[in-house]
Amino acid sequence: MPILVFLEHHGNELQKGSLGVLAKAAQLGGGEVAAVLVGANVKALAAEAGTFGATTVHVAEDPSLEPPLPQARVDVLAKIVRDGGYDTVLFANSVLASDIASGLAARLDAGLNWDLADIALQDGKLVGKRPALQDSVLADVGWKTEPRIALFRSGSFDATPTGGGEPKVEDVAVELEEHSRGAKVVGQELEESSGPSIEDADVIVAGGRGLGSPDKFTLAEELARALGGAVGATRAVVDAGWYPYATQIGQTGKTVSPKLYVALGISGAIQHKVGMQSSNVIVAINKDANAPIFEFSDLGVVGDLHEIVPKLVELLNQRT
């Protein structure tokens, strides 16, 4: 089953999400996995792809391919898939990757399953695992034709080096379609790290009424800083004016699914729960042992957050 993985890069770094998918593909592919790099100076990244499991790396390198636009990449991938006979193409989700994956699906008239959390071989067929309905249901999804295209939720797989060696590097030269040349990047504004936005953050520290007063939000902010995350808030405290509406998480606020969600002084009312229940790991600190949040957290700490959080911040800062 020849598998092809699209590797996304930014600047000189391969994105962790793509590397995770690559490592997973290496497991599935039983040793042979190909990766694709598209951009201006990407050949140098091929070796790194090898350490994460790529045995072949197709490289399409050209200054015109530098802008992070999807359609030229569809052209590149379509050629590689056809010429190389790949029957499975995997992507880690991102703004760019989802456009490429779906454009490619249309180009090849192929099936795309997206928002997958995992993929497995079952009875000789590849089956995707797709959470649905706010993660209350897990669906097994399949492909009826080949090639199969899959788009995985970001962070589905850990990027663990497999200790692989140098991959075979193959250059790809591609004629771009006319419509693929239509969009041009005429400027860029890279955001300074004032911390990630709530929607993109891998870590969110959220504060609720248990914080006691608006000035105690500094506890949430310090913990977020120590963990490299964003700060969120419940409806109750936003209503009370303690924190801005843009940070509200819940039914009438934002829905998030970070790798880590730390809930400080939050009771876990269902209106809040539906906004964060698909977080990978949930840690809750609350002094009420009966708070509903303990029913769906991975680690529940019954205690005084005003004592625990400062100590926690200290310990975390010591580690780095």
Binding site: S98, L299, G300, V301
Partner: protein, 256 residues
């Protein structure tokens, strides 16, 4: 100028999966996908007071006409609904094929999509449609303007903003940060019924039934199950070293 906006009628309230078809139960109440309201609003802003035509296009069951009517009430000029029994169960491949056929008919200068659909949570439709239409596509527009036959977009990514331009005709999907959709006025609601609205079947579009629905889909839902339980949930109570325990836990989960 003509702007086409693709919209979807999605189940309202708590969604349910139909265990028989393993697909979303669309038999209950539905509403306009909230993210599509941003796309309609953006089209209306671009139209302003000019004679630009804003057409809303949807593929769905007959009651999707309700969502189209809401778009007309907001200010769109005309509605097109593609509906056919054969369409039920269409996946991305089938849906993008049908929408592309309907949009070809319209030959719009600009095709707009919302950022995702609240039922499939997919952010994938526009790129597939743009590919079938063979037009440039720009997604996640946080700002949009048109000048001299070119669309100018500020596109939001994980890293910041890209400023992208493309000559029309083009396909753009807008992020929910781009605008605050207007409420339809009472006059708008009352006038919506009088605006032109057409219903197309597959044969009107020249698309064969075998290319759509479950038959024409390239993906399938095999089974529905429960997600793995949260596993070993732990609780610490009255522990003087709670902070350390948390650090150990986070380290164990490789989060720090």
């Amino acid at each position: 100028m003509k702007i086409a906006v693709c919209v979807k009628h999605v189940p309202e309230g708590s969604s349910k999966l139909d265990p028989g078809s393993k697909r979303l139960d669309r038999s209950g109440e539905g509403a306009l996908n909230q993210f599509d309201a941003n796309a309609i609003e953006e089209a209306l802003r671009l139209k302003g007071d000019s004679d630009t035509e804003v057409v809303v296009v949807s593929m769905g069951p007959e009651k999707a006409a309700d969502s189209l009517r809401k778009a007309l009430a907001m200010g769109a000029d005309r509605a097109v609904l593609v509906t056919d029994d054969a369409l039920a169960g269409s996946d991305l491949a089938a849906t993008s094929k049908v929408l592309a056929a309907a949009l070809e008919r319209e030959s719009a200068d600009l095709v707009l999509f919302g950022q995702q659909s609240s039922d499939g949570d997919g952010a994938v439709l526009w790129a597939a449609v743009a590919e079938r239409l063979r037009r440039p596509v720009i997604s996640q527009a946080a700002e949009l303007s048109i000048a001299g036959g070119t669309v100018h977009v500020k596109r939001q990514t994980e890293f910041g903003y890209d400023v992208i331009e493309a000559a029309l005709p083009a396909v753009v999907s807008v992020s929910d940060a781009i605008n605050e959709p207007r409420y339809p006025s009472l006059k708008g609601i009352m006038g919506a019924k009088k605006k032109p609205s057409e219903t197309l079947s597959l044969s009107d579009l020249g698309v064969a039934a075998g290319e759509v629905g479950e038959a024409g889909s390239k993906t399938e839902v095999l089974a529905l199950g429960s997600p793995p339980a949260r596993g070993d949930a732990r609780k610490i109570e009255g522990d003087a070293n709670a902070a350390q325990a948390i650090v150990d836990f986070l380290a164990e989960k490789r989060l720090i």
